[in-house]
Amino acid sequence: MAFEHDLLAILPRLRRFAASLSRDRTDGDDLCQATLERALKARDQWQPGTRLDSWMYRIMRNLWIDEARSRQRAARTFAPEEAGAQVGHAGDRDIEAHMHLSDVERAMQSLPDEQREAIALVLVEGLSYKEAADLLDIPMGTLTSRLVRGRGALIELMGEAA
């Protein structure tokens, strides 16, 4: 089927996009898998003749945003005493995971979501401003100001290494 064939061709780029959005490769591949599952289920909604890669990027981005929001909600909902014994453990794991991150990953992690996705689409995936703005449903001016702020933060975080 042409659909699966085209998906297969896009898959490496999707994994890269997922890696740049997620905190590590494992989370990235989980996101990628969820995106594939969603796309296969919703394949009737894709209009042949339109760009499958944009459609896939959009699905991935939306899943990632949903996931990020529910994580934030959970973080706000659990009071420290409720989280209780798990706090120490989860904290250790976070610190440990953080230690394995490279400078680039750590810097990307620290960006607000809306800057990270803009940076990922333009600097990592190589999309044009127009493509990225369309995909994120934002005006070009909003995109460029996110790119400027995101870059400023990355340069500061990565210092000379940038």
Binding site: M1, L8, R151, A162
Partner: protein
């Protein structure tokens, strides 16, 4: 300052400036070392980020993703395609009684000349036939001397492929080998030049039917199976 802001520098690096603005920024950069350094920083950042994530797109895609797609491509179109693959057996049912008429003399000789050899007491594909089974896609074999027919999973697991050439038959993956389940005189070199069904077709179809679990995979499934080494 030269009136060049961060957004302009960034747009230059991202290839988003038109000719007029690009020249303007480049002139300003040439005349201002501090601006040149900022531009260099932006270039380094972009190169560092894209360079950092680029290897992800070079890696082999994990099997679980391929499996998801493969599942989809065999299951969804199956009902529509099921009758079509039987069309491969159009050659009529001439029950040629000479089995293994061609090439059989070489099977047991131990030399590597023929398409089929002995390995641990089993008939296995070798040479060009093994190569074709390993790598050739039914969807791309215009001039090949050996033609691959169907690729499918057998009952109990594992991949099988039917082939036609000097010898026609069905082989199933067993470890690194292709065990030949059936070998009949094939369509010979005609298989390469024009697509005529060999007299062996009907019997090969019977073998396929006795082995197959579900339906043969399509071009995508075939490609994915190949990239996972037919495991």
């Amino acid at each position: 300052m030269s009136g060049i802001d961060e957004a302009m520098l960034m747009a230059l690096v991202d290839g988003e400036l038109d000719e007029v603005n690009r020249r303007r920024v480049e002139r300003a950069v040439a005349a201002d070392p501090a601006l040149a350094e900022r531009l260099a920083t932006h270039r380094r950042l972009r190169a560092r980020l894209s360079g950092h994530y680029a290897p992800v797109a070079e890696e082999a895609v994990p099997k679980r993703f391929l499996a998801l797609l493969e599942q989809e491509s065999t299951m969804v179109p199956m009902r529509r395609r099921a009758p079509a693959w039987r069309g491969w057996a159009t050659g009529g049912a001439i029950a040629a009684s000479l089995v293994l008429g061609l090439g059989i003399g070489r099977f047991s000789s131990g030399t590597d000349a023929g398409p089929i050899g002995l390995h641990n007491g089993n008939l296995v594909a070798q040479g060009a036939l093994a190569d074709a089974l390993d790598t050739q896609l039914a969807s791309a074999q215009d001039d090949a001397a050996i033609r691959i027919g169907l690729s499918f999973r057998r009952k109990g697991g594992g991949w099988c492929r039917s082939f036609d050439g000097v010898v026609a038959g069905v082989a199933c993956r067993q470890g690194k080998d292709w065990q030949v389940k059936q070998a009949l005189p094939g369509a010979g070199h005609h298989a390469a030049t024009y697509r005529r069904a060999s007299s062996a077709d009907a019997r090969i179809m019977d073998t396929v039917e006795s082995l197959i679990d579900g339906a043969p995979v399509d071009a995508v499934g075939e490609k994915m199976a190949r990239s996972s080494g037919w495991q």
